[in-house]
Amino acid sequence: MEDLTSPKQEKENQEELGEARQSWEGKTAASPQYSEPESSEPLEMKQGPETGRQSRSSRPWSPQSRTRTPLGGPAGPETSSPAPHSPREPSSTPSPPAPPRQDLATPPQSDRTTSVIPEAGTPSPDPLEQSSDKRESIPLHTSQSERNTFQQSQQPKPHLCGPRDVSYNNAKQKELRFDVFQEADSNSDCDLQLPAPGGSEGAPSMLETAIQNAKAYLLKTSSKSGFNLYDHLSNMLTKILNERPENAVDIFENISQDVKMAHFRKKFDALHNENEMLPTYEIAEKQKALFLQGHLEGVDQELEDEIAENALPNVMESAFYFEQAGVGLGTDETYRIFLALKQLTDTHPIQRCRFWGKILGLEMNYIVAEVEFREGEDEEEVEEEDVAEERDNGESEADEDEEDELPKSFYKAPQAIPKEESRTGANKYVYFVCNEPGRPWVKLPPVIPAQIVIARKIKKFFTGRLDAPIISYPPFPGNESNYLRAQIARISAGTHVSPLGFYQFGEEEGEEEEEVEGGQNSFEENPDFEGIQVIDLVESLSNWVHHVQHILSQVRALQFSIYQGRCNWFNSIQKNEEEEEEGEEEDEEKEEPDYIEQEVGPPLLTPISEDLEIQNIPPWTTRLSSNLIPQYAIAVLQSNLWPGAYAFSNGKKFENFYIGWGHKYSPDNYTPPVPPPVYQEYPSGPEITEMDDPSVEEEQAFRAAQEAVLLAAENEESEEDEDEEDDYD
């Protein structure tokens, strides 16, 4: 016939090598019931067909072979010359019959040879079948014989033209109308000049027509999708032959789907890829900048290095130790963070900096750096807070002046506890955050006690955007950056520990300051620290101390609970007394104790063995990093109160780290606080108290009383009149 592309040729090839068609009745495309290729016939012939066979998930071949035996007979002579010698190269079979056949055979043959190698054939049961095998082998290996029909048809049909149905098998599954092919096969002979010895009847013209009909049908374009079956099948076969997946017949449907989808995808690819890959490139660019920054500073590098040595911590070393404990962000990520920290120290005047940890968020995460500025280099905006407070006071006074007649409310807002000075207490360090290394660092505002107090009462996930509002009850004064800062302060206060003796109190602090300070504030590294044995660190919690001041919790609860939320006691007693004098009401709400006991938190450098338990759960868990090699293990401390807080020490060095969602652990479920009771703002007196409406009896009694009075008055008048009249007489 015509010269076709190789897939087509294969098909045609198989066509001519037609087969027992009746078998098709039972065939429903690809019935993978027979796991092992009983179609062993082709095996002997060439291993090539086996490849095909196996990939087709084995159709039952032996019955086919049986049916084909008679086929093989007549075909035998022509093909059998090479037949008995199965190992002979595949092409040998077709070669004798006809040159054109050979042409057709060649393309499949090449495939065959390649496929021979991967798979060893299954044993071929029947030598008799070999002849038919040969024939079938050619189409077999290429054909994805979905049609196991062979097995069903037991009637030998003298179809010499090889397993043509096989060809159709691999061609398509559902769409084909088997009967069409059956007919075609039965009628048509190996029209490709295959000498049909005996078995082939049917005039070539009928065969040709049938084939052309079949092909025309295959080429028919689908009205829905614009594809046609022929092209689709060719594409699929090409893809399969190119990729050579294992058990291709099992994933045949998926391959078909993929090929179809590929048609659609092509048009979009150009646009889509650009959009999708942009963020990847962006972040890569930013991180490239990180890597480059080192090279930019040439001259100043030495100077900077001196300072940088102090400022920049050895993040990689700490990361290594934490990795021993099973905690960490992965080497790549940590290195990028390292570079980002370096960038931070280069752009800001920083005395000391530390990688505090990572807080996970819903949309983005936060990488937190704890920073201590050099002396005098702070850029604090302390003014803003005070200004705001003054403004509020002014407004309330103005209101009172204008509306004199209204009852005066004696509600006085609880005095806002001022935040701690920078560099002290909770604001000892400044924190910078960024979403990803490479992005710019943002400084977090200092924390206000009120924020900490409220942060203790709410539990919210971080979204990853610093300006996101926090909607909660009690309402949080601030947005996500403030909440983040408050949580960081709490975590630091609760979980930053160091081995005993690493820090010691400074020597200047000799006074006892009971009135104001709860304890010493400052500490410094102990130069004589000799280290503690790792075993000791693991066994006893008293070898670790907190080196961050504890945040005071609430004062004795009053109606006016004054929550502290700062480390140094703020003495607000005087002002309260003043308010008392002003009020002079006798309502209970105004009662305040004359003296509020100062709450004293645990002093600095308290061993963590003093930490409170949470419902029988110890607050810390200690472990050795490795039980297999204890001599080089490090001590790892894991906080149960703040899940995600870790500390390690190898005796001399130590480091703290946090990775988590930023919430405290509580064995009880969270319950939002109840709103406070309604507050009595105004004195209740008759002028603002609502009176009840009089009831009917009362009204009637009242009216009766009034009438009585009137009557009495009239009577008097009438009496007087009468008296006057009498006088006249």
Partner: protein
């Protein structure tokens, strides 16, 4: 995560912070191989690590050919002696793992496919989700027998492909927003974290075959989730 690609998977999951120390990793690799051989599993997954007060449990799961069949779970760790508690720690461990699996074990769409005969298989033509698909919750399914599928309207069902869409998607999880989707490394990695069971991390590199999930946590459900969103 698959035992075969353990190292790569751990690297990809490292963004959540909890990983494995080198000695654990080495010992896990070995023991997972042995488990696979001894129990003749088709695939062995390293499920994760449950942190305990004293020591941790390391959990592995074995899958047979049928991916949705009930899995065997193996654990290694020292059970706590808690005489006062009625339940054995082991039972509790198993139930926690089961709960977590039923609730939050996920798999990308297309990774498994169902044959007409019932068993589900690993889809070898799964090339990964595309980037736009990877950002949508609907492209991920719960790795368990479907519960919600029957409740879908017929109209929705018509759009589903029965060989691929035979599990519940994450879209309709209650409470809404209990999953956090993030892209890391630009768009090269998508990480899903469960907020209901904090510690469950699922990762997938779009356009590649790599995906997996791991749980590292205390095994406690986050009942405060509605307050926290």
């Amino acid at each position: 995560m698959d035992a075969d690609s353990l190292l790569l998977s751990l690297e990809l999951v490292s963004g959540s912070g909890q990983g494995l120390s080198p000695d654990r990793r080495a010992s896990l690799l070995t023991s997972l191989m042995l488990v696979k051989r001894d129990y003749r599993y088709d695939r062995v997954l390293f499920w994760g690590r449950i942190l305990g007060l004293v020591a941790d449990y390391y959990i592995a799961q074995g899958l047979s050919e049928d991916q949705l069949a009930p899995r065997k779970t193996l654990y290694r760790g020292a059970p706590l002696l808690s005489p006062q508690v009625q339940i054995k720690e082991e039972t509790r461990l198993v139930s926690v793992i089961d709960q977590i699996d039923k609730a939050v074990a996920i798999i990308p769409r297309g990774a498994l496919f169902k044959t007409p005969f019932g068993p589900t298989h690993v889809n070898r033509t799964f090339e990964g989700l595309s980037l736009s698909e990877a950002k949508k919750l609907s492209s991920y399914f719960h790795f368990r027998e479907p519960v919600e599928l029957k409740n879908k309207t017929l109209l929705e069902k018509a759009d589903l492909d029965p060989s691929l869409d035979f599990m519940d998607s994450l879209e309709h999880d209650i409470p809404k927003g209990s999953w956090s989707i993030q892209m890391e490394r630009g768009n090269a990695l998508v990480v899903l974290r469960s907020l209901l069971w904090p510690g469950l991390t699922f990762y997938h590199a779009p356009r590649t075959k790599h995906y997996g999930y791991i749980y590292v946590g205390t095994g406690e459900k986050n009942m405060d989730l509605p307050f926290m969103l």
